[in-house]
Symmetry: C2
Subunit: 128 residues, 2 copies
């Protein structure tokens, strides 16, 4: 299961923390539409390598176009088109990637904190 | 069936005309989320009456909050929250309503043109 699917199963309190990671600079539509692809890329290396960042950013746009053209839902197809237009005028692909990486890492932390809480509760109940 | 549902059943060529009616100034998420409510309001009168426009705009925000709080889909709830934040700083509720009214009217025209085309094709096939 992708990290993104696991994140969506978190309780509301933690889900709200994830919610704040996404805005116009890094729309959640991209995270959802390309969940599997996003999680299989080497973002850490790209953030430190301008030409790699540029290639990854172009690949992301290609993936988006592929997903949009196959999307059956009119609203989601429309929103993806608007995001594609915004990405085309993004001044800094590298900044976009940094924002993206930060969001994915923070997602992971929130997910881990949920696991730690569950583990703690389990240990507590075993001790009682 | 709401006009919005009928519009989504149009052929791709006409659907693309509808697609262009919506952008950040009047997001399609609002049109979809509040389809029934939107189509039951008196927008024509509100456009010519500033105080009525203001009341309608406030009611629209209340409706959006209601729909958002009941939305189960994480992405759609998130997008609706962002739109609500944008609406709170909208400089001119009246302008928003004008854009809205224009989009709904144009939708109707596109839908009618589809009906005329179908009617024409039917008559043509009956004549042949």
């Amino acid at each position: 299961m992708s990290q993104w699917k696991q994140v969506q199963q978190l309780e509301m309190r933690l889900l709200e923390q994830v919610d704040y990671l996404y805005d116009d600079n890094f729309p959640m539509d991209i995270r959802q539409g390309l969940a599997g692809w996003i999680e299989s890329q080497d973002w850490d290396s790209a953030v430190n390598d301008e030409s790699m960042a540029s290639v990854l950013f172009t690949n992301l746009q290609t993936q988006l176009e592929k997903v949009r053209s196959q999307e059956q839902n009119f609203l989601q197809r429309h929103n993806m088109k608007i995001i594609q237009q915004q990405l085309q005028v993004t001044a800094s692909p590298a900044l976009f990637l940094v924002l993206h990486l930060r969001a994915c890492r923070r997602e992971k932390e929130v997910k881990s904190s949920s696991c730690s809480l569950e583990q703690g509760a389990l240990e507590q109940s075993l001790q009682n």
